[in-house]
């Protein structure tokens, strides 16, 4: 989905609020939110792709204003409710207030038919796919051309894995893009490497 989470290349944000030795956590509940979602993954209640997708499904204004660990706990609660572990009513009664959850999921998809294998040096284009469910293709590479640098081991296909759709594991390719191709005349010169699933790629030429 072309959700609010897809931040790469968006304009208008100011300087990074960088400090030396910046903390990972700012409050004790953040440590617990992080631990509880990891615990649920460990128990097999949901997988990492479902977890990421439930964050992406947060209402955009909520997503933008929530802290990182508020997004974690919203995803965790959404999935616990959707999987029938707890009800929203119980959570709201226990929390003594409203408990915002993410919006319902659309459908996923299985691997793209006719996937090709690539080797380092191949020129590839990111397919112009628009999907309603989970996808790990950042919007800024859609339709763009790059060069394959290496191949990673096969992983569960996220577009399927987040939706309990049956699919084969597939490799990801490290694809190198030039910022000049991604944002012509509107970027600092650099190379951007993205780990791209095989289903998202097609050969150029």
């Amino acid at each position: 989905m072309d959700g609010m989470h897809d931040m790469g290349g968006r304009q208008g944000f100011g300087p990074v609020r960088h400090t030396h030795n910046a903390p990972a956590f700012h409050a004790e509940w953040e440590v617990r939110a992080n631990s509880l979602y990891a615990f649920a993954v460990r128990l097999g209640i949901f997988n990492m792709d479902e977890y990421r997708h439930a964050i992406e499904r947060m209402e955009p204004r909520h997503y933008l204003t929530a802290s990182y660990y508020e997004r974690s706990l919203t995803s965790l609660a959404t999935l616990l409710v959707e999987k029938g572990v707890v009800s929203r009513e119980e959570l709201e009664n226990r929390a003594q207030g409203r408990f915002p959850l993410a919006a319902p999921s659309a459908h996923g998809r299985t691997n793209v038919p006719g996937r090709e294998c690539f080797i380092p040096g191949d020129r590839v284009r990111v397919r112009q796919d628009y999907v309603p469910g989970h996808v790990r293709m950042p919007g800024y590479i859609r339709g763009k051309c790059g060069v394959v640098v290496s191949e990673s081991p096969a992983y569960p296909f996220p577009d399927a894995h987040a939706h309990a759709v049956v699919a084969e594991d597939e490799p990801t390719y490290d694809v190198r893009f030039r910022t000049e191709d991604l944002w012509p005349n509107s970027s600092d010169a650099a190379l951007v490497h993205v780990a791209v699933f095989q289903s998202y790629l097609e050969r150029v030429g």
Binding site: N21, N34, E92, Y140
Partner: protein, 198 residues
């Protein structure tokens, strides 16, 4: 308006919401509070940048280890007793040179090789870093205190799959003859992410 309506009209604080989830799981016999203690300890005491610092120091003094690290990061860090979650199937170590600066990010969420380089700092997860570092890397690095010469090529690595990255910073020339332990002491989390040089 009933008492219940008034309560539901305000959003519970994040802390109240976490408490609610934890209590609901505990009541179902899932022992969430025990897991929170264990995982919280790992997150704060075990998954720390000093792990990555040890890896870097070893690579600086041991060329054979450095070669193994660059060839297969996951297997190489295991030699130092460091592990990664099952779903992180690949650790790619990105070697800086005088002419190349690698920097890692995650534009879609905030993924990192957290067991090796530590849980990400707050700014790494902020919308500013996630939106801007892929498109305006040189500007962002300069704002963060790393003013690179124009002849240094910047390579940004967006963590969009479960392949994870760690930057191998250059060894400062004044550290000749230092012990591995002393070398590890100068390696910062920012240098493992690639927003600082040593």
């Amino acid at each position: 308006m009933s008492t219940q309506d008034r309560i539901i009209a305000r959003t519970a604080s994040p802390e109240q919401r976490v408490d609610a989830i934890q209590a609901a799981l505990d009541e179902r016999g899932m022992k969430a509070t025990g897991a929170v203690g264990e995982l919280g300890h790992l997150a704060q005491e075990q998954w720390i940048p000093q792990n990555g610092a040890r890896v870097v120091a070893k690579a600086w003094v041991d060329p054979a280890f450095r070669a193994r690290l660059l060839a297969n990061g996951r297997e190489a860090v295991a030699e130092l007793g460091l592990s990664m979650p099952k779903h992180h199937r690949h650790l790619v170590v990105l070697e800086n040179t005088p002419r190349v600066q690698n920097v890692i990010c995650c534009t879609l969420c905030s993924c990192t090789a957290f067991t090796i380089i530590g849980l990400p700092p707050d700014w790494y997860k902020d919308l500013e870093y996630r939106s801007r570092v892929v498109r305006e890397s040189r500007t962002v690095l300069k704002e963060m205190g790393l003013d690179l010469s124009p002849d240094v090529e910047i390579r940004v690595w967006d963590t969009t799959a479960d392949t994870r990255y760690m930057v191998l910073p250059e060894r400062p020339p004044e550290t000749v003859g230092w012990t591995e332990e002393r070398l590890a002491g100068i390696v910062t989390r920012d240098s493992l992410i690639g927003v600082a040089r040593l």
